[in-house]
């Protein structure tokens, strides 16, 4: 029974915040996390973006006059997780007011936002920010978007040999040049 509980707990923790653990070198779509429900165990909330969540909460209370009732403001992030030599590496972009978003226009289509990006290493309970930059964010497509946008995504891959992380975005079936990134992690 206890073994079953531990297995369930490990399974739950590994899936927290939509962070995936794959390091086979293939492109994988970065998963969406919604931070409105506060969490003490999601590394995205506790380690990667606590300051962004704090700022958004302050803005919602001060400017939007929102009573959050113990919840967080609506902050979302994309992330993916890679395993490398006993440590976990999280790559994430977060949608906040610090992003530069695309057009607001009746004739516009889906566009990327350029947002804060962090790469954080988790190693035996210790976290280290390896890199801060700006990178692409797009919401995963929903059914109301045109068919050409149903495959839109921000993707990342990890090369286990070199330790390089690469990132790209696809919108409307096309690679977005300004979203291409490459970072060393060792």
């Amino acid at each position: 029974m206890s073994r079953l509980l531990i297995t369930a707990l490990v399974f739950m923790l590994s899936g927290v915040g939509g962070v995936h653990a794959q390091s086979d070198g293939a492109w994988q779509t970065m998963a969406l996390s919604d931070f409105r429900e506060p969490s003490q165990t999601d590394p995205l909330q506790t380690t990667v973006w606590p300051d962004a969540i704090r700022d958004a909460n302050a803005y919602a209370a001060r400017e939007l006059k929102k009573n959050l009732n113990g919840k967080n403001a609506w902050v979302t992030a994309l992330s993916t997780r890679f395993e490398d030599k006993g440590r976990s590496i999280i790559l994430s972009t977060v949608l906040t007011r610090a992003c530069e978003s695309g057009a607001n226009h009746v004739g516009a289509g889906v566009e990327r936002s350029i947002c804060p990006l962090r790469i954080v290493a988790l190693d035996r309970g210790k976290s280290t920010i390896l890199r801060e930059d700006r990178g692409c964010y797009i919401d995963p497509p929903d059914a109301s978007l045109p068919a050409q946008n149903q495959g839109d995504s921000v993707q990342a891959r990890f090369d286990p040999a070199s330790g390089q992380i690469q990132m790209r975005a696809i919108i409307g079936g096309r690679l977005i040049a300004e979203c291409a990134r490459s970072y060393p992690t060792r």
């Binding site: 919602a60 007011r97 695309g102 057009a103 226009h105 566009e111 045109p146």
Partner: protein, 245 residues
């Protein structure tokens, strides 16, 4: 008489050309949306006038210096949504000023449906917060310093158009020095959008400071007093009495 008639015809030609261009732009935008992009109407369909949108802008948290030419912003709202605050364009953008979904979340803390169902004032407040933040970008600051850009007056409609099409895209235009320096995939430039905003504004519109809208052009001079408090007369002044004029 002939000269006056000729001037009048030239002016009406100019206005007609601007109106036709604005109409063509609106039609082009309507048909340029991807065929598969399905417009969606959330909540009630509205038809707010340019003046009603301008009034909401003037009641919003928008910076005071942008409110001083707020009539063009009423025109911008009409241009973007036809005054229909519940419309989603099928791909990115919702509401009276067609805020994209990322900005709806960031500046209104809701989703597109929630935003579409907000009141006109709440929508305009969210847009005003976005525009205030965009005001601090290098592209907007440079435009404000310039006063005119490629022959166009930099008014609130122009600044808002810069922010509407994205500060990064606007920077591209500013760096090029020409309106044609950036165009969206449908060929719409920031200058086109600013022109459409002016064309769609109410000709009898009252600005935030209660002055009537009037486009300044080459040869125009400010009609407001240069100095509210003229200097006191000095001993060297030549004083002319009323009967001597």
């Amino acid at each position: 008489m002939r000269a006056i008639l000729s001037d009048t015809l030239k002016t009406s030609d100019f206005l007609m050309t601007r109106c036709i261009r604005a109409c063509l732009l609106v039609c082009a935008l309507f048909f340029a949306l991807p065929a598969s992009a399905q417009r969606t109407q959330f909540c009630e369909r509205t038809n707010y006038s340019a003046q009603e949108i301008t009034d909401a802008v003037n009641a919003s948290v928008l910076r005071d210096d942008l409110k001083s030419t707020s009539c063009t912003l009423g025109g911008l709202g009409r241009f973007e949504s036809g005054g229909n605050k519940g419309i989603f364009n099928g791909s990115c953008c919702t509401g009276i000023f067609q805020l994209n979904t990322a900005n709806v979340r960031r500046y209104a803390d809701t989703n597109r449906e929630g935003y579409a169902c907000m009141s006109l004032q709440e929508q305009v407040d969210a847009w005003a917060r976005l525009t205030n933040d965009g005001y601090n970008t290098p592209a907007v600051r440079r435009l404000m310093e310039m006063g005119t850009f490629d022959g166009q007056r930099v008014d609130a409609g122009f600044i808002a158009s810069c922010i509407q099409l994205g500060p990064g895209n606007c920077q591209q235009m500013v760096s090029s020095g020409r309106c044609s320096g950036f165009a969206d995939p449908n060929g719409t430039t920031i200058c086109d959008m600013a022109n459409a905003a002016r064309s769609n504004s109410n000709p009898n519109c009252r600005e935030g400071n209660n002055s009537q809208v009037c486009d300044m052009g080459p040869g125009d001079f400010p009609t407001t007093p240069v100095a509210a408090n003229p200097p006191a007369p000095s001993a060297s002044d030549i004083v002319v009495g009323p009967g001597q004029i």
